[in-house]
């Protein structure tokens, strides 16, 4: 019995997550025309068992860290499963399998390595591994091209988007490198108000980043490029506090944006559909998806059509690119705001963990990992709501897709480990 109360907040919150998973699934099933099939409850029940299993695993391990991240990630994953059931029920079993694998990855990350700070020592290995993963889709045999973007690797029927994993490796590498050299990088000689960065020390980072950009450009994945650049700038800022670097970075990003716009047809199409999706020649062509997505948002109103009662299925590939709009259509502005709040809370918790972390490496890593979730959410929701051009970024935990889910659960495990370590070092809860 006492086991149940070692991590009481986590347990209590998981009860609400369980309620969310079951009611969501039942609501979707009830809205369908066919008679209710009890076996449909198998998915939420399996998910709840899994989530509680993870909780008990942390309890048994005597974990002392954050108790909010696991329930929040579980809540987001539950919403994801409900939406897959709603939008692409044939993929539901697939998504459940991936959730299982993600839980496995979570447990593995909790166990290995025994010493979290050791990650920093192998920073160059992470960099190399990241490079290898990024190049892998371009290789024959295992590389796969899906929808015009060569960003997949596959063995048999199992496919994986390696860059999802690369973003975590990148954060660990940056954190390790910046911890070592941040003193030098943060104290540039100044030419008036303009800092002149110590170029030699920035070179490895720049090279790493440039390489990532090149691969991404060759693999035609705009969203990933934006994400890498964002992570790079955010971590540089975290380490140095030098907003001038960020400014230069953003200017470079804009210049790069103009260059790719003129160089690549698919980028021009993206921008055009962003600027005028409703024009006669685009609304039935390249702009069809975003127009249907906006129709879905418009149908949401304040409280939404109700789960299963909207028409988000009119949006092409809604289950991976436009889950946010589907959720907003059926739960309204209120639901969309709640979802955004959940993400913001997750990021806030992650940043809090970073703030309390005992070493600069752990601070930078936890900050970078939290930033990934924030940036991904902002970029895809911004694209869905036509605030910025649409990119192929996934909505963390919620969008259909295995690579993303597994990576995000690894990310949660890393954050929880940092908070556990902090609690042990400080000797507090």
């Amino acid at each position: 019995m006492t086991l149940l109360f070692r991590r009481p907040s986590e347990m209590r919150l998981l009860v609400w997550v369980a309620a969310l998973a079951v009611t969501g699934s039942v609501a979707v099933a009830a809205a369908e025309k066919t008679a209710f099939d009890r076996s449909q409850l198998a998915v939420p029940v399996a998910f709840i068992v899994l989530a509680v299993g993870l909780h008990l695993f942390l309890v048994v391990r005597g974990f002392r860290g954050d108790q909010l991240l696991l329930p929040m990630a579980a809540a987001l994953s539950a919403i994801g499963l409900v939406l897959v059931q709603r939008l692409a029920s044939s993929l539901l079993a697939n998504q459940l399998q991936w959730t299982l694998i993600a839980a496995g990855a979570f447990i593995a990350t909790i166990l290995i390595p025994r010493d979290l700070t050791a990650l920093a020592r192998f920073k160059w290995m992470w960099a190399l591994l990241g490079v290898a993963l990024l190049v892998s889709p371009l290789l024959p045999v295992i590389g796969r091209e899906v929808n015009g973007a060569r960003i997949w690797i596959g063995v048999g029927r199992v496919t994986f988007e390696p860059w999802e994993a690369v973003k975590i490796l990148l954060v660990i590498f940056f954190a390790g490198y910046l911890e070592e050299y941040r003193e030098v990088i943060a104290h540039p000689r100044r030419f008036g108000p303009i800092p002149i960065p110590p170029v030699p020390y920035l070179l490895p980072i720049l090279a790493m980043w440039l390489f990532a950009m090149l691969v991404v450009v060759f693999e035609k994945d705009l969203g990933a490029a934006l994400l890498f650049l964002g992570i790079f700038l955010a971590m540089l800022y975290l380490a140095t506090g030098e907003s001038f670097y960020t400014l230069i970075g953003i200017v470079l990003m804009l210049i790069g944006g103009v260059v790719v716009y003129h160089a690549f047809g698919h980028v021009q199409v993206r921008v055009d559909t962003w600027l005028k999706p409703f024009s006669e020649d685009l609304r039935f062509g390249a702009g069809y998806q975003i127009v249907q997505g906006l129709f879905a948002l418009a149908n949401g109103g304040l409280f939404g059509a109700g789960l299963g009662n909207g028409m988000p299925d009119r949006i092409p590939v809604v289950w991976s690119d436009f889950v946010f709009n589907a959720f907003a259509e059926e739960t309204g502005f209120a639901g969309a705001l709640a979802l955004l709040a959940l993400y913001l809370l997750f990021v806030y918790r992650g940043m809090l963990i970073a703030l309390r972390a005992p070493t600069p490496f752990l601070q930078l890593m936890a900050g970078g990992l939290s930033f990934i979730v924030a940036l991904q959410t902002l970029v895809i929701v911004g694209g869905n709501a036509r605030l910025i051009p649409l990119t192929g970024i996934t909505l963390p935990f919620v969008a259909y897709g295995g690579s993303s889910l597994v990576t995000n659960w690894i990310l949660v495990a890393l954050l929880i480990r940092v908070s556990d370590l902090t609690a042990r070092v400080r000797g507090t809860e």
């Binding site: 800022y237 127009v291 418009a298 304040l302 955004l340 601070q363 929701v381």
Partner: protein, 478 residues
Amino acid sequence: MTPSIASNLRSLTLTIAIAFLVTSFGVGYWTLVASDELSSDPFNPRLVSALRDRPRGQILDSAGGVLAESVRSADGYLRKYRDRTLAHVVGYASFKYGTAGIEAAYSDSLVGQDPGDPLAVWRARYLGERDVPGAVVLGIDPKVQKAAVDALAGRRGAVIALDPRTGAIIASVSYPNFEPNQIVDPATEDLAFQQVNGNVDKPLIDRARAGLYPPGSTFKLITGAAALENGVSPDTKVRVDDPWQADKSWGDYYVRSAAHAHADFTMADAYRLSENIYFAKIGLQVGGQKLAEYASRFGIGAAPRCDIAVAKGQLSNTGTLDRPTLVADTSYGQGELLVSPLQMALVAASIGRGGVMPTPHYANEVRDSAGNTIRTIAPGAAGQVIRPDTAARITTYLVGAVEGPGAFAFGAKIPNVHVAGKTGTAENPAGSPHGWFVGFAPAESPTVAVAVIIENSGQGGVDAAPVGGKVMQAALGR
């Protein structure tokens, strides 16, 4: 001192929070602010989603006849249309190809959410309680519609008739037309839509309200009004010698008289015999600026306010009359003018009503499921566009153009009723000229105004005027 990572973390978190706030505003904009506009977009599949799950309201003609209704079938409701000749007006509500016509313009009303009933709209949006839809009643008079269909007899063109007193459209035919039942039936929709959409004759276009043609001599109604109100005396004889040019600067450009006339013309003669050179001369006398002003008063170049989208036409490519040959050509209805039959019917109606232009409308009222009126569509007059005495004088000339000796528009005569009318011949680059007729009856106090166009029919009066006559006769119940 090294800046603390902690303080950087705080500012980064703050930045993220602000970005989330901005994003929330963006989402709020689409879900709440832009919601109405997007929800009524004709291409929004949600507008017609009700088609399958729930019945959509009926569309009725003015005699209560059903033009469109939802019929229950094995896989949900199917829209059925009862009169193919009204395909353009009634439109269609297709799950795949969007909506058109009344089905588009009154989409909200047809799903039980008429803007005239805010409570129903509110309940549907926020509580998901949807009222059983009622009906939209059109001004279409089945007798007049049938007369128009029979008179046009399958020739490519359009007929539109309206009541000048209210602006209600009582008949509208556009040919070739299409079969709306095939466009809304999932079994045939793709093939049917491809066929009509790709057809060179453009059967999807409602020629009566969206077809654009040079008005030819029917534009002389406007030229005459501009002349009368700007110092041209109608009884002054104007010399006509075919061919004519104002001066040598026109080069080898001449205005031609259809009758190769060499005579003196009063305005009455010029209307009766449709003399181009007369109108070119008085048009030049009035000047391009005044002529443009009167065309704009009669709504040429601006879409009339109407419950269905209608064409706006044009005075010229630039919107102004900036050279004498263009003024001369415009005065007798050629040049770069483009108008729709609906616009010309409104011009005729305004002259018949003593210079008051009506606002056209296709629907007369929206009813709830119990048959009670939710909303009456009575937009009132658009305004006084010319003086009553000018209108009265032109009416006299137009009666002469139908009943006078040698009148071109004799085919529009109706026994025991004075008819005012004007034929027109629209020269066009695509083959032989289109024939026009515009008119109204009874001339003293009209209850019907009509515009007819028959494409590539040759000289106007011969073919178009009798069609106009039969339609007006049906409207007058004779």
